[in-house]
Amino acid sequence: MGLPMTKNVTSKVLMAGDDDLPLYAPQKKIYPQRISGTFRRIKWGLMALCLGVYYLLPLVRWNRGLGAPDQAVLIDFPSQRFYFFFIELWPQEFYYFTGLLILAAFTLFLMNALGGRIWCGYLCPQTVWTDLFYAVERWSEGDRRARIKADAGPLTANRLARRVLKYAIWLIIAWWTGGAWVLYFSDAPTLVRDLATFQAPAIACIWIGILTASTYLLAGHAREQVCLYMCPWPRIQAALTDEWALNVTYKYDRGEPRCSTKKGRDLRALGEKIGECIDCNQCVAVCPTGIDIRNGAQLGCIQCGLCIDACDNVMKRIGRPMRLIGYDNDINVERRTSGKTEVFKPIRSRTLVYASLITIVCAVMLHTLLTRSLLDVNVLHDRNPVAVKLSAGAIRNGYTLRFLNKRGFDRVIVVDVDGPANAQIHIVGVDSVTPDRPMIVLARDATTELRVLVTAPVGEKAEKTQPVKFRITDIGLGEVASATDHFVTP
């Protein structure tokens, strides 16, 4: 954490080092003030977008043909399928999620290299829901001063009613959040109907309960404590950031020394150098984590930009230039102090590396997704017995073949075997018209497991093991897949 190097800031920070302080500080209640401005508008917009996607996405329909779920995004645990619009993934393709996690991490790093804790300030679910819960709190209990006053005074009927109203709305939002969550795991319209008629499975109600409780507690009560004590990202972020990253910064070169408007006017008239910060504390009043941004970059700052709005409103009123607090870094503060121009370097080695890593991972994922096989076969050799000698002296090996048909319709395939000379193939339970090329039907969107026997007349000097390859061919589409194993002679 780069600390600004002005005197008053340093002394303030040092005070926190008093060794008699307990290890665990009790939560200080924070009363963020209503604010309007550019960043507040951005936050409202992103909140609407994030919550809109979260609440409404399960309701989006996507036609996959008869018999297949028509929900655009569905995690179907009983059938072990994940549906995302045109993509259908099987459990063994879970590695795509690894790719998504890598992508998410690099995107987070890139955001951090460009504009600091953009994730924390605008996109993190904790921030989004806490923001929403604060809006409800302001609406029912009034703004900062009203709430401070109410908390200090006695519990009147009016205040109790407002408080109950607040908790009720919080609970409804939390319940809706849990309700939307379970819709991702089951057909949404059916589940909504079942919930409405009290016929929903217990597991749905349990998860709604869990999500309701966690949303209510985290967004309603734990709030900034999650960011300060629970979340690992601020710690990692502090280690990942560099001096060029833009952060919400109090430009102390402009602001210090602080002075009230009137006194400042007088002192300026006398020719003294006075800063533009009028010490109105508006930046502190609006802060959702209750910090003072003028103490410099710090763990508690989620960089939501609300203090920028607060300060800009004040600067506008007193007729000074805006952005005394703004996206900036210490390099520019120093440059301005020594009379140089500001420099911004969004394109530098680390942002290029992050961006290219994101591009590479995206490209690899897209490539594997588009070229993935929709027909596959796996083979498992019998272990006991490994080989069987038949009465006429031929050797037979048994295999379990598992065929995967990832398409949404049944398909007919033929199975060929390449292996020992004159090898014959037989599939148990399949009487094929062409005995050497058994033909089987693979049910749509399913696996089919069959026992396959390969018999070969093996001479005295046969190899102990020979490679054997099973080739399957979709006779309609011409798709092929193969699996290899060994043919063992006892």
């Binding site: 008699d20 307990p22 019998d382 272990r383 006991n384 017995p385 069987v388 000698k389 038949l390 009465s391 006429a392 002296g393 037979r396 048994g398 148990v428 339970g429 009487d431 497991e449 026992r451 026997l453």
Partner: protein, 290 residues
Amino acid sequence: MSQHDDTDRVSGRSTTGHEWDGIKELNTPLPRWWVLTFYATIVWAFGYWVVYPAWPLVSGYTAGVLHTTNRAAVTENLAQLEALRGEKMKALGTASLADIENDPALLALARARGKTVFGDNCAPCHGSGAAGAKGYPNLNDDDWLWGGTLDQIMQTIQFGARSGNAKAHEGQMLAFGRDGILKKDEIVTVANYVRSLSGLSTAAGYNPAAGKTIFAENCVSCHGEDGKGNQEFGAPNLTDQIWLYGSDESTLVETITKGRAGVMPAWSGRLDPVTTKALAVYVHSLGGGK
């Protein structure tokens, strides 16, 4: 009560009064809710004694007012299991053996059930993969003592061989040497003749004509003139590559001298008909079924 008046400066709480190199321990009694829960569990235990089996007596135990027993629970669970299998297993019971093999779903069900039952009942002799051992036939190959069709396998499982069951397969290899039917040198000669039937090498000085005569006089009634055996008596085919006890001369001499009469138990009393059917289909589908 402790006499010390030692209060921690930071937390404002009293300490235990103990001090180790300046480190003191806060006096933190168990929380009240914990203690109350603990007492509640003790009270709960008394109720448990009344309701459930609890105390051992000289020749029994206190049964408890609910009369709960594990055996009843098992019986109930088994009934539930049957109900759960329900329709599918019923289908297995009504379909013919051939129909089961022709229906992929029934075949898969029968093979799954058969594999489990095989592991529980048959594996001790035939091996977990049915590969057999000396004296215990390999069920994967295409050589069958008592026949390899679905019905024959089913019959063998139900009634066994030489099992004492009225419907069991009967017939045994006589002890030609021990009972004085053949002399030592005749046994060696016929053993070499039997080896020659499947193209195995014969000993030096062996007389093929004598071997053929001895075989014709003693063995053909069961094994047939060509030595291809007879499944009516469980007489093995002597011309193929598969030997239940072994094909070397000394083993053959031992077989002819002492006879063989391996026993397969009858399972009809222990396995229900549906399970037996599943088992027959499983064995048949191992690869050697006719």
